[in-house]
Symmetry: C2
């Protein structure tokens, strides 16, 4: 309750710098997505669908779970992406309540360009991000105690 749980100014700065690195990456991602005609969240949905682990089905629920959003938020994203022509809905083959989402060729083309841009950006700024995370962990309670 007392000093044990407190944070030094340096630790606040470490946390702030880590968040700044994350924000920097997300800001790049938002700007790049918009340059390619979609919103950042829509890009993330495309990536989540196309980067689904083997055996996972691209249903609304599965996507929502992987994006850590509610299913109806995923519905709205899918609506906008369908309108933009990046994906199509297909009724589930077995369970006809389900909707399977598939990328259109246009959607795949956008995702490919964005993925390349993000990979390049991560090559550039990833190390900084990793280092800011390390600073937080290095100066954290457990690291200090050990």
């Amino acid at each position: 309750m007392s000093k044990a749980g407190d944070l030094t100014p340096g630790q606040y700065r470490d946390l702030a710098e880590f968040r700044r690195q994350i924000r920097r990456f997300l800001h790049f991602s938002e700007a790049t997505a918009k340059e390619h005609g979609i919103e950042a969240r829509q890009h993330q949905l495309l990536l989540a669908v196309h980067g689904l682990p083997e055996g996972a089905n691209p249903t609304i629920r599965e996507i929502a779970s992987r994006l850590f959003i509610q299913h109806h938020s995923a519905v709205e994203l899918v609506n906008r992406l369908e309108l933009a022509g990046a994906i199509v809905r297909r009724p589930g083959a077995r369970d006809r309540r389900e909707v399977w989402v598939r990328l259109t060729p246009a959607g795949r083309a956008i995702l490919r360009k964005l993925a390349l841009a993000h990979r390049t950006e991560l090559e550039r700024s990833g190390p900084e991000l990793a280092q800011s995370l390390n600073s937080v962990l290095r100066h954290s309670r457990r690291a200090m105690a050990s």
Copy 2:
């Protein structure tokens, strides 16, 4: 234009997993901030102000720059935080166009709790995040070429 810039399914999965790790952390951050009565962005502003590097002044513009948002977006965040009692505005001493933002004791108390929670979460999930980033970089173009 051809194969050189293309991505394998595994690389899409690496990118998707990295984004998932980031989303996981941000989702934790959003939920935790809300539990403490503020929004995620407002928390980030508090952290940015309190974790400012030595010598940097907590003006609206400086804050906006560190959060990678436009100055008027920062104004809105400051409005809501002032309403919530977490910060106060002070007119700039030298340049009276400036507004310096200071955390109130209540704001510091919230930020402290959130910083502790985030540190704990990063101790828990930080390594996974770092590893997913490494996977992207390890399998990236330059790493392959070298």
